[in-house]
Amino acid sequence: MKAVGARLPRYDGVGHVTGRTTYVDDVRVGRTLWVKALRSPHHHAAITRLDTSKAETVKGVHAIVTHADVPKNVYGHLEALGVPADEPLLADGEVRYKGQPIAAVAAESEQAALEAVAAIEIEYEERPALVDIRKALDPAAPQIHQWGNVYPHYGPYNHRRVRKGDVEAAFERADAIVEGVYRPQAIEQMPMETQVALAVPEASGRLTIYSCTQAMYFSMGVVAAHLQVPLNKLKFVGGTVGGGFGGKVDTAADTVCALLALKSRRPVKWRWTREEEFLASSTRAPWHIEIADAVTSDGWILGRRMLTLHDSGAYSRFSPYGVTKHAFHHSGAYTIPNLHFDGFVVYTNRVPTTAMRGFGVTSVSFAVETHMSRVADVLGLDPWEVRLKNANRIGDTSGNGVTLKDPSTVPVTLAAAERVGVELGAEFRQMTAEPRTGALLPEHLVAQQNLNLEED
């Protein structure tokens, strides 16, 4: 029997459904200490005093770490891709979101750790918070990030751009210009397994980290960078995760456990409560998307202008990456030769947003598809036929300049139409993904067509 294409049972399915799979919190090591964190109660504040000396005397406490204990406190998840670092592991002098970790305690019990957290002496000076990305560049907007309120490092620009074709001419030529605003929301990744890590100092001098990360080598790199140690000092154990959905691409608990294990010389486990998972762990980003399409009365999209504001929360994490990915897909499953796109990563005083299933594209798919339906409605045309007309075809050029070799807009759309009994005109029923010809190769799509598919 061939394995590929077969409906084989899940390799690890029996373990998962009978409770025999070992997740991080199931790993028990003798003499383990438990972690609790001091988190910011404010959305935005200066820290004017931080003193852990009383907390250190709480019975059962073995170690407390603050920013001063981290060899490299500020490290960027995307530093390797040229995105500068902006987020401290533990807050240093300032907090920019409610729930931001400031200090962490390792103690004999979770109760003792909580008592020590309560005994940490801290004072704040509250600052105004920025919450609405649309107001981030208002003259009176609170300044909340050291780079200003938008990410400034897209080469020389403070936004990700797409400039393609002649948008002015397309809007001039259009029979109608349809404009709309789309605001997809933040949601929780909400895994059953909350963020959790266990760090065990080995007799060899190495540190074993049991991690729920979605990316072991990536998280190992993050921990090694904060600790300033080579990779062979660390061993990550993981590979089985109780739900991720993107939220466990962030390295949430591993580094703090590593620091506390080194400081206390004891195994250290930190398991976030459900409340921490909801309120202090990252979410999917909220987005604000404005689209203006230049269209003809028979349903061709000649050009598109789009403005996207991405609510990054208090720090960058993966947002600059997410907005670039968003930009690359802002014409959707369609071929639009004239494009003008600006995408901004905007900081606010909310929990940093991060990767989640469909990162960067879930938002743009929602905006583009709802807008396509509206365009068809405004023009009084069949929405299936408008999509099929403008659909990506073999040899078409995408918004970022890639020649498409195997697009399936037409086959999936036709299959869906047939499944629900939508009646389409004969010229649409017979469409395929093959290169445009005849009436489906109008003047505005001639120049973008590239049939030298081998040369890519």
């Binding site: 590929v4 080598y217 499953a333 396509m372 300049g401």
Partner: protein
Amino acid sequence: MAKHRGRGFATIEYPTGMNQNGDPSQAWIKLKPDGRVDVFSGTVDIGQGSKTVHTQIVADALGVPFDWVTMDNTNTDSSAVCTGTFASRGTFIGGNAVRLAAERVRERILDIASKELEIDQSDLEIENGDVIARGAPQKKINIADVAGAATYNYGELISGSSTALKPFADVDDETGQVETEPHSAISYAACVAEVEVDDETGEVVVDKLVQVYDVGRAINPTLVEGQIEGGAMMGLGLGLLESSYPMYPSLEHRGGEFGSYLPPSLQDLPELDNVILENPSADGPFGAKAIGEMANNAQPPAIVDAIHDAVGVWVTEMPATPERVLAALAEKRQPRREGKRVIFDEHLSVRTVSENAGEGFLSTDA
């Protein structure tokens, strides 16, 4: 006051692999002395089934039964680099890493089998654990005996390793254009939503989702359907129910427990009709593209389109809660028309909401 039925749809595309590439996955494989296969890869299985899919890919790339293959992704000492389980890259990039490693192992098996059988390598093929002479099926040797010979006679560990990597694609910061593909493949999907909208309560019920996915090749159709159906429920949450900030952009009223945050549950499960198309990718393992992330992208716009079909209003601030549907029905907002411009949602625009008419966001070419 009445319930209204509506139908809407959306067609979407989604890339495979980290945007702009540069994200390696590596794998290595060794044979035990009885020919059983140990695969070491760093791909984290977050429940999507990558361990199963990779095992299937190795089994067919080698020509051995599925249950000969053991997968170890448990730690960074035994596994080589995997950039991570994100960007819908597990089947394509992780899968290519184990496929390429398996092809190297296959070459070593054929080399040793060739010596044992005294038949040229090019005349041998592997089928269900046996190395067989083409056209002379009685001349064969089981891989168990090949691995035994390698270990005890030739003093060789049959192994192979490989890296799947597409080099980083630079983007022009001025124009957003690339010189090379910034992805490994693109998958496509269409979704039809059938809804019922109650114009008195504002409640929207999704009765049925018809979903068509081109995944290139379904390595395991059951797991593909798992992604389609699980993704459908997440898409339903995005479309109708979930919000980390119910009063967004306000930071207040966040739900800190399951009791105050509303994901979909089984009672919300609509009738699901799944269609898998296979338009193979030239570069993916056995033609595979991807399915993981895109599976929650098409439902929200399909649902919003269906609400419009049912009651004639567009809800574009998400999710489409009963409050928002009722507000849209009450306000009956019409687009403003100015010349050939048809302007929806003006009250939400940066131009309207900011104090400076969106300056800074709207004047990027000035």
